[in-house]
Amino acid sequence: MKSSVIVFPGSNCDRDVAVALERLQFKNSMVWHKETELPKSDLIVVPGGFSYGDYLRSGAIAAKSNILSEVISAGKKGALVLGICNGFQILIECGLLQGALLRNSGLKFISKDILVKVQSNKNKFFNKYKSDEILKLNIAHNEGNYFTNKKHLEELENNELIPIKYCDEKGNINLKSNPNGSINNIAGIFNKNKNILGMMPHPERMADKILSGEDGLGLFLSLMN
């Protein structure tokens, strides 16, 4: 499989994603934000970090960069697009995903391991996981508090467009297991066609047993399925 990782000034998880992908034999290219053409790719990753120093709003400036218009048209044509953390914020700002990511309800930058529960595995990104499986992933963000209108929220809930929700060790999804105030404990969402995924947790940080864990590896393995 061929993949492209988009790199902005201020991206800092781009190389981590590339290492995880290359370990699984993806043929990966790093694509600088000023490029106007995207190499042919089955998967496009918009990585985490602080693109353009989070100026204006997280992801707002990156959403208007040259390469993003290519990502938008590829995504609309059905290419797999994965936005992680700041990448999720960028996908929202450019309109590929709906809603908004507000400042964390506790007003603090949160960097810690959290648990998420797989809500649905009937998609390209989570098919290697069991439904209801609990994963340990890492979050590191200041604006991860997902918000959307009632109508869109119902659409997400009724069409299995929320693949992961924050939970505790027992799998309870409630206020206590919600780190950032995200509506309905949402940790990630799909577009209608489920080819575009935005998520706040970092699967690439849990892709190596020696470093931290392997719970995130399944996502990249699922993509190869």
């Binding site: 709003r57 700002e93 908004a100 507000l102 400042r103 918000f147 209108n149």
Partner: protein, 80 residues
């Protein structure tokens, strides 16, 4: 021609920063304070003599970049 643009969170969106600022002001002894909403301010200088045209361009800037209309409102004022 200069314009002053203010972007604030919509009324029904929680503004935690404004809340903390408001609470701090209350703690400082300002008893008659209702609430504080925090926002962003932009001063936009346009090289354009047609004020209607300039204003509609500034409006477009707000809609396309300066404000995220899902969560934010904007106000445009002509500055002297």
């Amino acid at each position: 021609m200069k314009f002053a643009v203010t972007v604030t969170l919509k009324k029904d969106v929680l503004d935690p920063q404004g809340k903390v600022v408001g609470q701090t002001l209350k703690n400082m002894g300002i008893k008659n304070l209702n609430q504080v909403r925090q926002g962003k301010f932009f001063e936009i200088d346009m090289n354009e003599k047609d004020s209607a045209k300039a204003e509609s361009q500034v409006k477009e800037m707000c809609e396309k970049l300066l404000a995220n209309q899902i969560i934010e409102d904007f106000k445009i004022n002509k500055a002297e």
